[in-house]
């Protein structure tokens, strides 16, 4: 099934994604020229490394362990086939042939050269992409539900609101240098698939009794060394005031957030210091001056942005009876049960391509795979793909009658492992193999856990294992059903294990089980936790349900069978 293209500068995208007009395009082009000049001044010695640092960070460029790393924004995770091909092109021409999908729905390249970065950004601009504010102390890339617009449990499509937030926060002068990074997420469904509770600012979109869109505003969530769940400060914000209210929140944070201590600079510390009521009161005191002003969103603008996120031309006869194929191909049946999700539209399904497979770092994709996914998206999903915060890719609109063919194609590419939501679908940060901040490596550890749990993962069922190489928590270990954190012990790599975290609607932070253990011991420790669950579970209980019912003590005992667990605060 080939679909007609819309054409345009980037070539070949379809409706269903936000498209740049001359203004959006001009902004990213100007930004590239500006960064080219800044980089030239730096390389010529006219700009100090200290002064260049915040500039390169806000253009996605990090200094890492082995080489500079470039993080490219994928706003709310959506990609067109043309964009996927440009990402492949960058991997091939400017990196070592692959990229890495992150827990913030971005992609990063680990082997770029500083002097080539402006050219990479120019290539991105041509495909209506950028790396603006993917790092630095500013509002970062906006994230949302990877099933936005297609989920059966969705009340409000979060994508237009995410795009409006993206535009408002892009190069916002007043908030260009916040005390620390600032992450915003949206959710418009009953099930929270966007981990909103661990964001600095999050919006739950819903409709009130009159059918009008309202926002529940939550602030102060985050991970790191002081993990906190976001607290609600406003229940019923009219959507028109979304940007004004955000301005008031950011102004309070910009003025009063701590700047004396890197580890106390996130908004969660300010919210906690003032208390949520006082913080909300300060925000309201500023918001009254903004409400109804120039920053109030108009219906016309919401309509303009929403007009991009329309349904593709779904076929009326997309459904299929798959019982025969199921019976003949057990692996296909497993894949259907694990990697294929329900769709709001009868006859359609959302397919997750698994980027968690043996021998490859979780979330890594080669240039060839990116190109191949572009082909699959074009053939089977109206030319669109999404990045999940679980570091997988989703084809969002697949006709059921195409599922078997798609499975064969994905399987040939090694992207059809039926493990979505299972123990081997681990979230893993780049860790000590790449990241300069790491205490310990994550990727080899994930591999040993994978080898240990793969044989029993179907028996275990839903289990979210999340691994961070240091307390910065990029691997979301605080909200893993089982979390693993790399710690440094006299220059050696050790790991703490946590149990009971979750990032869904009933979000919770995991609890540390006890003293940290050496790398060789982590996989067997986790297996003992899984065995405890298998012994103790009641009918229908998932790992996280059993963990919540039993509390942490039995897991401590299972983790350290010989000795009594000694609590350690590394």
């Amino acid at each position: 099934m080939r679909l007609p293209c819309m054409g345009g500068a980037g070539g070949g995208y379809l409706k269903g994604m936000y498209r740049y007009d001359a203004l959006d395009r001009r902004l990213v082009e100007d930004r590239v020229a500006q960064f080219r000049d800044q980089t030239a001044r730096y390389l010529a010695g006219k700009l100090s490394a200290d002064d260049y640092k915040p500039l390169r960070l806000q253009n996605g460029l990090y200094e890492q362990r082995h080489a500079p790393m470039l993080r490219v924004a994928i706003p709310y995770g959506m990609l067109s086939t043309a964009q996927l091909r440009v990402l492949a092109e960058i991997a091939r021409r400017y990196d070592r042939g692959y990229g890495h999908f992150t827990t913030r729905q971005n992609i990063q390249y680990n082997w770029v050269k500083i002097e080539e970065t402006p050219d990479i950004l120019a290539l991105l601009a041509g495909a209506e992409m950028h790396a603006i504010q993917t790092s630095g102390n500013c509002v970062r890339n906006v994230t949302t539900d990877h099933f936005a617009g297609i989920a059966p449990d969705e009340e409000v499509d979060p994508r237009p609101y995410s795009e409006l937030m993206r535009q408002w926060s892009t190069l916002n002068p007043e908030f260009a240098h916040l005390p620390r990074k600032f992450k915003v997420a949206f959710n418009g469904a009953r099930e929270d698939r966007a981990a909103t509770s661990v964001h600095d600012l999050a919006f739950d979109l819903y409709k009130n009794a009159a059918g009008e869109v309202r926002l529940r505003v939550k602030v102060g969530g985050g991970q790191g060394r002081t993990p906190r769940l976001a607290v609600t400060i406003r229940e019923d914000l009219p959507w028109q005031e979304m940007l004004n209210y955000t301005e008031a929140v950011l102004r309070a944070y910009n003025r009063w957030g701590r700047r004396d201590n890197l580890y106390k600079a996130r908004i969660k510390i300010l919210v906690e210091a003032l208390g949520p009521e006082k913080f909300a009161h300060e925000v309201d005191a500023d918001f009254v001056y903004l409400e109804g002003g120039a920053g109030t969103l108009t219906q016309e603008e919401l309509d303009r942005v929403s007009s991009f996120f329309v349904d593709p031309p779904y076929a009326g006869d997309a459904d299929a009876d798959l019982s025969n194929a199921r019976a003949r191909h057990p692996r296909f049946a497993e894949w259907l049960d694990r990697n294929v999700a329900a769709h709001k539209r009868p006859g359609y399904a959302a397919v997750t391509l698994s980027f968690k497979r043996a021998g490859i770092a979780p979330g890594d994709a080669t240039a060839e795979q990116l190109d191949a996914v572009a082909d699959l998206a074009e053939r089977y999903s109206f030319g669109e793909a999404r990045v999940t915060h679980y570091q997988n890719l989703v084809l969002s609109d697949v006709a059921q009658r195409d599922l078997f063919e798609l499975w064969l194609a994905a399987d040939a590419l090694g992207l059809a492992e039926a493990n979505i939501g299972l123990a081997t679908d681990m979230i893993t940060c780049p860790g000590g193999d790449f990241c300069a901040l790491a205490n310990a490596r994550s990727i080899p550890l994930a591999e040993t856990i994978r080898a240990r749990l793969a044989p029993i993962e179907n028996e275990i069922g839903d289990l979210a294992i999340k691994i961070s190489g240091c307390i910065n928590s990029c691997g979301h270990h605080h909200v893993g059903h089982i979390g693993v954190l790399g710690v440094d012990k006299n220059g050696e790599e050790w790991y703490q294990v946590l149990v009971g975290g979750r990032s869904d609607t009933e979000s919770a932070l995991g609890q540390i089980l006890g003293k940290s253990v050496a790398a060789e011991e982590v996989a067997s420790l986790i297996e003992r936790l899984a065995q405890l669950y298998l012994r103790e579970r009641r009918r229908g209980e998932r790992f996280i349900d059993t963990a919540q019912r039993l509390g942490v003590e039995p897991f401590k005992a299972a983790a350290y069978p010989a000795s009594k667990p000694a609590l350690e605060t590394a």
Partner: protein, 160 residues
């Protein structure tokens, strides 16, 4: 060579530093009224609202940037211009660097006391590097979505 950039109706103009003396707000308040002078400098921790009752006795306000990436001055400037209605000189002092000038200008600064190592002539270019402004601020109060048609027409004309 460093210097002082001042916004004029003809655009930004580079001049020699004028050596104008700004008194710390706390010292200014503590001084006898007749000895206060007409220029104060705010630290990032100062509350601009405290200036409200004194604005009529001032001819210039400066805001200090301890380093280029201390963004508190942006909010203080915004509040002075929008909430308190200050229309007089608003000067950026301290670590005033090329790559922050455009942000400062958008937040309402109109005089820029460049730090020593800046090339003043080069800095004049900093204000026009980005030609599209999504959000409203002090300089352009309307967000892009309230003036999209005009902005598109202006771009088309420029590119023609």
């Amino acid at each position: 060579m460093s210097g002082l950039i001042r916004f004029t109706p003809q655009g930004p103009v580079l001049a020699e530093k004028d050596g104008r003396v700004f008194t710390r707000f706390a010292d200014w308040l503590a001084a006898p009224v007749e000895a206060r002078g007409g220029a104060v400098v705010l630290a990032p921790t100062d509350d601009p609202a405290a200036l409200d009752e004194h604005l009529s006795s001032l001819s210039a306000i400066a805001i200090e940037f301890p380093k280029p990436t201390d963004g508190r001055g942006f909010s203080i400037a915004t509040l002075l211009r929008t909430r308190l209605g200050w229309t007089g000189e608003l000067r950026a002092v301290g670590a005033v660097a090329y790559d922050q000038l455009a942000f400062m200008a958008r937040c309402g600064f109109d005089v820029f006391d460049l730090r020593e190592e800046e090339d003043g002539t080069a800095c004049l270019r900093a204000f026009s590097e980005i030609g599209v402004l999504y959000q409203g601020a002090v300089d352009q109060k309307l967000p892009l979505f309230r003036r999209r048609a005009q902005a598109l027409a202006a771009i088309a004309e420029r590119d023609a």
